[in-house]
Symmetry: C2
């Protein structure tokens, strides 16, 4: 079986490694260069999307910011999974908000801002504080503003305007303003749906962000009612989209209530722990769904966590002395803040996991992992 | 880090997949063609061992039947791990028997046979029944004879003679005759030793052979004293060889006593379950040792088993519906009896594992997996 992945980053790489044993061959379409590349070495195999489509039994994507012409060409081949609508929704916060309302799932109140008038209208309609996110590239902390005080409005608007003007020319830029929710924690649900409509979801994962970028995820046994609430949201969104593959949903948790923050129509950073901690990893399950193979069990094997390596191309080898620790590099060149790799760690119990996380926090350099120790320390305290 | 593996089969392939996340790049030297190949696609990267050695930070092997000149060339580079002596011993049953005696570990009585006189001498010195194995290629059921009755001797000798004559010309052929041991079961120990002399071993694995070829392995929590006995044997052999990497030891178990049958200086088929069932898989641990990284934990995560796929290039997709089941194809072309892939399966308990094994046995075609169901059935009975 041959699969073309739109995008040639770490997610395509981890898909390729996960499904080679199933005799599924992955090639990646580098949307930047227009070349089809080996996802492990990123060396070019041949040029052109058309040949890539010809090679493939199925086509999927590792990210949502793909130009619509490429998506249309892939969809016309009948091989694209998930469908282009689902991918586009992940790449446009306006469509995403429409979907959440359509599916009747809880999410924060919002207003769309394209002009100064919209901005003023939003300030009237929504209560402060607000978070404003670029509709088209609002992820990993880019194109985001926070407005805590009405007095800041005059300061922020020129910045948003400059962001619109600096962006792509042929696109209608917008910002989605949302009421900031005083949440207790951020969690995400990674799940998978096949072409028959079967769905399976992994346990809810607790996520910690540093400067707007995911830094740590922890997956443990979850309160059944909360998990059921998340599964219901997953099913309604995935069914509405007639989705095939892995889909991730980020939530704000407020008490026992989950509010959808955003969705990602792909394998997700907060699901990397599944490589060691779940029965079938998200990468394999995505390709099982895409290739019409039976979905694998998404059960937690043991409490597990993931630590992102951001902007660093080495970590001390001693982390490999910590039991149940695996290191995953993406083979990318170093750049400040870039996702370079991740560390997975597991324990037979939550306490053992917390202990190992602390061992890792003690070894990893504080400068590059500055929020790890306080976060793990708070997690340990919660368990006591 | 770059590593050259001598041999381009499934073991090199699984090494490459296991350590790509550690940024260790594996290339494989195909001893047949003399080319350095990509272990995943087996397509040639360049020709010649010398260039392969130049590429590599370290060199290792996936099998023991490597000509001595190749081993000498690799060893001269200072990069070969384990050393050539260890690899040679694995490829010559005479040397292997000498080592076992040197290490003072229990093993079956034997005699070396190169001539008709040796054969007659062996019949006098050893008690029947005997197993006779080719010293140089005695693995996976090739070059083996069983002698249960003295009357068979006249029948077998011409066969052995023909085997000698049909073999390589410049080699001194021999057969090692051993007293057959009335063992209760066959078990193996896979372990790893680093350049500092640290060792770690996986739990003893129970192995079932079909026509002399491994068909099923089961790894569960093991009696501590038996495990300690096996670990002691591992340490004495690995230390004697000043071994670096993964080493496997096959035993006959008779009551509470372990008798060494043979050793394999490499990752081993009976250790494939570690991909899903152990904290660190044997492939990663082998490369961790070879590349001077800390050894990974060898703890059992949960009871696990492996089923070999012999001579078949498809299995029903429904096996992927059985929880905790993963399928590993080697990307090889179909040939009768050939190791084409394997299936790993795990359970939270031995009973759950046995149940899933039975589910698999019910799905897999009986013609190709004829001993699976009776074996699993007997295993289930033992647990009741």
């Amino acid at each position: 079986m041959n699969v073309l992945v739109l995008g040639a980053g770490q997610l395509a790489r981890m898909m390729a490694l996960a499904v080679k044993p199933l005799n599924i061959n992955i090639r990646a379409f580098d949307v930047g260069s227009g070349n089809v590349v080996d996802p492990l070495s990123t060396s070019t195999i041949f040029g052109g999307l058309e040949k890539g489509i010809e090679f493939a039994d199925f086509i999927t994507a590792e990210f949502e910011h793909i130009d619509h012409q490429t998506l249309a060409t892939c969809e016309a081949s009948g091989k694209l999974r998930p469908n282009s609508q689902a991918i586009k929704i992940g790449g446009d916060r306006r469509l995403e908000k429409d979907l959440l309302i359509e599916c009747n799932v809880a999410n924060a109140k919002h207003q769309i801002i394209e002009t100064k008038e919209d901005f003023e209208h939003a300030l009237n309609k929504l209560s402060l504080p607000l978070i404003l996110k670029s509709a088209l590239a609002g992820y990993d902390g880019k194109g985001q503003w926070r407005l805590r005080d009405a007095a800041q409005a005059e300061e922020i608007w020129p910045d948003i305007k400059a962001f619109f003007d600096g962006g792509e020319k042929n696109v209608k830029h917008a910002v989605v303003a949302e009421q900031m929710v005083p949440f207790d924690r951020e969690v995400s649900l990674v799940g998978v749906r096949d072409s028959q409509g079967n769905t399976k979801v992994y346990p809810l994962t607790e996520n910690h962000h540093t400067n707007g970028v995911l830094s740590v995820s922890i997956a443990t046994q979850v309160d059944e009612r909360l998990q059921a609430q998340a599964k219901e949201v997953f099913d309604s969104i995935a069914n509405e989209l007639n989705y095939i593959g892995v889909l991730a949903i980020e939530f704000f948790q407020i008490g026992e209530q989950l509010l959808v923050n955003e969705i990602a129509p792909r394998v997700h950073n907060s699901g990397h722990w599944t490589q060691q901690g779940a029965d079938t990893c998200q990468f394999e399950n995505h390709l099982r769904a895409v290739c019409d193979l039976p979905l694998g069990s998404t059960e937690l094997v043991r409490p597990s966590a993931m630590i992102n390596i951001l902007g660093e191309d080495t970590v001390p080898n001693e982390i490999l002395n910590v039991a149940s620790t695996t290191l995953h590099w993406y083979g990318k060149s170093k750049r400040t803040g870039r996702k370079m790799g991740h560390i997975n760690v597991s324990g037979q119990s939550e306490k053992e996991l917390a202990l190992r996380l602390m061992q890792l926090a003690d070894i990893l350099p504080e400068a590059a992992f500055d929020e790890l120790k306080p976060y793990v320390s708070a997690y340990q305290t919660k368990l006591d």
